[in-house]
């Protein structure tokens, strides 16, 4: 089964990192070689991928119009769902990126006896996806405290806000709990729904497994097998300043954590996770609905063979004449 294959990879990576943490060579491999290699792959891979997309032509202006066009002055246009100006397009894309506008529309279709179809609100996927992505963003920003000295004020504020519940010592972050729950939901959803199971590839489960691994090891390090924060910070600063030293006392869980993160980074450019960049380039969302107002240019608008009026008139001359219609060349 696809999920088990993916799980095996994630667990294998954890096992390798945990066992390796006892050996200096492996520590260097996991904490130094792997992160740099992964970061290199990530940067080069993402750049190539984005350039390849950007290099592909946009021959036609094909927005999906999800609202009233701008036409007659007394008809109210949908400025966000069918924008005809750049500002509307920017807001439309922003809504997609920040709030997952289209996913919010989700409804489930259900067939009732007598061939009756009903449609029910289905916001859970939107909610789960939004919870996951926003938590991930906040967690990544929080992690800046490891890579920067002094810690920027914004990061400190973010930490305080995120830990406002003040539950436990150290305090639980809201985002830690939310991201774990959201990932669990996204995974269980894939496993539980026959339809989703059918469309899911190993890669879909792999990404979720790696992310769950990263989150779990992160939580473990903070609350259960507490890691030596100072050693980790020293190590992280070393990474940033290109003088890395694998920390000795950071603990096995830390090694699993950083190895999984490296794995994610490395496979990102080759995976569906590229949607994070692709969403900005989607031609059905980032083009205005104004193709009759302003001409869109197709860079490869090749000439094609057409049937001209003259050829048409020549072929049907007698019939055109008989019908009493005018001819160009009688």
């Amino acid at each position: 089964m696809n999920f088990l294959k993916a799980l095996a990879v994630a667990l294998g990576m954890i096992a390798l990192a945990v066992m390796g943490s006892g050996f200096p060579v492996m520590r260097t491999f996991v904490a130094v070689v792997a992160p740099y290699a992964a970061m290199g792959l990530f940067l080069v891979g993402v750049t190539i991928r984005v350039f390849r997309w950007a290099g592909a032509a946009v021959p036609f202006r094909i927005p999906t119009t999800c609202g009233q066009q701008t036409s007659l002055p007394w008809i109210k246009p949908a400025r966000l769902e069918s924008p005809h100006r750049p500002i509307g397009v920017i807001l439309r894309v922003a809504l997609e990126v920040l709030l997952f506008r289209s996913l919010f529309r989700n409804v489930g279709a259900e067939l009732r006896p007598g061939a009756k179809l009903t449609y029910g609100e289905e916001k859970l996927l939107w909610f789960g996806a939004l919870a996951f992505h926003w938590s991930l963003l906040i967690i990544m920003l929080r992690h800046l405290r490891f890579f920067m000295e002094p810690v920027p004020r914004m990061v400190a504020v973010l930490e305080r806000v995120d830990g406002f519940l003040q539950a436990g010592v150290p305090a639980w972050y809201v985002t830690d709990a939310v991201i774990f729950a959201a990932l669990a939901y996204l995974l269980l959803r894939r496993l539980n729904d026959a339809r989703l199971r059918y469309i899911s590839l190993v890669a879909d489960y792999l990404v979720l497994s790696l992310l769950l691994g990263v989150v779990s090891t992160g939580i473990l390090m903070r609350h259960f097998w507490k890691a030596d924060i100072l050693a980790i910070k020293e190590f992280a600063l070393g990474l940033v300043h290109f003088s890395p030293r694998a920390p000795e006392g950071a603990g096995a869980v830390f090694y699993a954590h950083i190895f999984l993160v490296s794995g994610l980074l490395a496979c990102l450019p080759f995976s569906k996770l590229m949607h994070m960049a692709g969403i900005f380039l989607s031609p059905t969302r980032n083009l205005p609905n104004n193709s009759r107002m302003r001409r869109h240019l197709n860079p490869w608008n090749h000439p094609v063979r057409v049937h001209s009026y003259e050829e048409w008139e020549d072929e049907f001359r007698d019939k055109i004449k008989a019908a009493g219609l005018p001819l160009e060349r009688p």
């Binding site: 997309w53 592909a56 032509a57 946009v58 021959p59 036609f60 202006r61 999906t64 119009t65 999800c66 609202g67 009233q68 066009q69 036409s71 007659l72 109210k76 246009p77 069918s82 997609e96 289209s102 996913l103 489930g108 279709a109 006896p113 179809l117 449609y119 996806a129 729904d193 026959a194 339809r195 989703l196 059918y198 469309i199 190993v202 080759f270 569906k272 590229m274 949607h275 969403i279 380039l281 059905t284 609905n289 104004n290 193709s291 009759r292 107002m293 302003r294 001409r295 608008n301 063979r305 057409v306 049937h307 009026y309 048409w312 072929e315 049907f316 019939k319 055109i320 019908a323 219609l325």
Partner: protein, 539 residues
């Protein structure tokens, strides 16, 4: 054929739980009623399309050219560079499944490969295998498949089981548009001669005669003359129908079904009455006698080839701008492709309504105006005298056609017109109208009789919504602004919701329109008696 048609109750029990093993194993059975026949060689030859031959999808041997794989892969490579949509949509799908139950063919058939995500995966799996590192390295494990003949047959089956309606793209968090994928998929199939006749024959007709039905100039004129005669009988007025008239202000472009099809024809009568009443200086063209464009369902190139005559005729006839009739896919082409492909239309003028003086700013560059924009403007400015009472036998709902909805955003204009020309109007449930509208199930050239079962399945969501308003509000007329709808919704209604008829918006305009000097009309445009006392409306 007729004997094999399944009954509604046979189609109503739909199993949504996918059966069988992995979708990566190509498996497709060409069962009668669920696919379209191949394009006849003469039609391919006329258009100069490759690999013209006798073959049928259900046969084992598809008589592909020996190097067909190379042709397809080269074609993919070229299109990955030419269409950012294609390249991007191959890369960024996360398989979240939000699109699954948005497709009318999936809802109506339960076939998992009709989920938009899997329809795209059929081609994405081949993309991964030949164009990505992971696919080359890990093969099946990465969701990659070899391009085999079985895979190609699957493409044919499922890309001709998608109506390019774009409903899934409304719900996709990345805006992935299956219509783009299907269009490219069909182009690739076309490179090795795997087309369907219901598309290629109209395209060949259109290329030769100027319209899909293959009507020649004298037949075209006869039909319009006949319409004028009928209108004279109904109204007592002699109505001019100009054809190929040089120097007219407006070129009127309509789908050719309007001249011959039923109920399209009543819409044509509606246009003619309205043009007469407002004294529009316009002309039909016997060459650009088709606004529709089955090239859209064949390839971008064919679309451009067929579309060229629109501006060419406008130029030859010396008109100022173009007015387009009721047609869905024609308007996708006119709105999103015409100006780019065949423009610039610098020999035309920015459209201004000669009756109201309104400038159609939204058509400033392409210079083509939708008839609903034009008519809504007339009504708003009080230029039409209307007696909605003449449509009293109808209780109306409106079906947004996919293309005018999701590739144009034309929602309010037809509704404004309908509410002005009839008294009883009810919307279908909100998940089935406007940008969420459901396809008739027969769009994009799939409306052929041999595909009957699949059409009825694909039309189920639309039919179900119509039945709802029939039962709750007594709706008995489904109004629409699409020629394919007018051809395929009547059998769909007859199948799932008997008792509901189909009409174009301008048929109802024609009924309600009070003409200067007309005799008391005893019948509507269908020749049915007008039951209500003349003038009982707010005219």
């Amino acid at each position: 054929m007729a004997d094999a048609k399944p009954k509604p109750e046979d189609l109503a029990g739909i199993e949504y739980r996918p059966r069988g093993g992995s979708w990566l194993e190509p498996a497709v059975a060409f069962r009668k009623g669920t696919f379209c026949y191949s394009a006849a060689p003469k039609n391919l030859e006329y258009l100069g399309l490759p690999n013209a031959r006798e073959w049928q999808p259900y046969e084992q041997d598809w008589k592909l050219p020996p190097d067909w794989q190379r042709i397809i892969l080269d074609g993919m490579k070229e299109r990955l560079e030419r269409y950012r949509s294609f390249r991007l949509f191959m890369d960024i799908c996360v398989r979240c499944g939000a699109c699954a139950d948005k497709c009318h063919f999936y809802i109506g058939s339960g076939d998992p490969k009709n989920m938009p995500v899997l329809r795209a995966e059929l081609i994405r799996s081949v993309y991964r295998r030949y164009f990505t590192a992971t696919g080359r390295l890990f093969g099946r494990l990465a969701g990659a498949r070899d391009l085999t003949e079985a895979v190609l047959k699957e493409w044919f089956y499922y890309f001709y089981q998608c109506t390019e309606c774009r409903r899934c793209s409304v719900f996709c968090p990345f805006g992935i548009d299956t219509a783009e994928v299907t269009m490219i998929g069909r182009e690739l199939l076309g490179l090795v001669g795997c087309n369907i006749n219901w598309i290629v024959e109209p395209a060949a007709n259109c290329y030769r005669t100027g319209n899909h039905l293959g009507i020649q100039p004298h037949g075209f004129k006869d039909s319009l003359d006949f319409a004028a005669d009928e209108l004279e009988e109904m109204t007592g007025l002699r109505i001019e129908v100009p054809i190929n008239k040089k120097g007219a202000e407006v070129l009127f472009l309509a789908p050719s079904a309007d001249y011959f099809g039923t109920p399209h024809y009543y819409t044509l009568l509606g246009y003619l009455l309205m043009f007469h009443e407002i004294g529009l200086d316009y002309t039909f063209s016997a060459f650009a006698s088709e606004g529709g464009n089955f090239g859209l369902f064949t390839s971008h190139e064919m679309m451009k080839r067929l579309n060229a005559k629109v501006y060419a005729e406008a130029k030859r006839l010396g008109v100022k701008w173009i007015l387009g009739g009721e047609c869905g896919h024609m308007w996708r082409v006119l709105h999103q492709y015409l100006d780019t492909m065949n423009g610039p239309a610098d020999f035309l003028e920015v459209p201004v309504s000669p009756v109201t003086g309104t400038t159609f700013e939204n058509a400033r560059s392409a210079r083509a105006v939708h008839i609903c924009e034009f008519t809504a403007d007339l009504i708003r400015n009080g230029k039409l005298k209307l007696d909605p009472g003449r449509n009293d036998r109808w209780c109306v709902t409106f079906h947004d056609s996919c293309n005018t909805a999701r590739a144009m955003g034309l929602f309010e204009e037809p509704r404004y017109i309908l509410k002005s020309v009839c008294k009883r109007f009810h919307e279908m449930p909100e998940n089935t109208i406007r940008e969420q509208t459901f396809c008739c199930g027969s769009g994009s050239g799939l409306g052929t009789d041999e595909n009957f079962e699949m059409r009825m399945r694909g039309g189920l969501p639309r039919a179900s919504a119509v039945r709802y308003v029939k039962e709750t509000s007594g709706v008995n007329l489904l109004a629409c602004i699409c020629a394919i709808d007018k051809a395929t919704l009547p059998p769909l209604m007859e199948y799932w919701v008997p008792g509901v008829e189909v009409a174009g918006v301008h048929e109802l305009v024609g009924n309600a329109l009070v003409l200067a000097g007309e005799k008391v009309r005893s019948t509507d445009l269908r020749g049915e008696p007008i039951s209500v006392k003349e003038g009982s409306g707010d005219a």
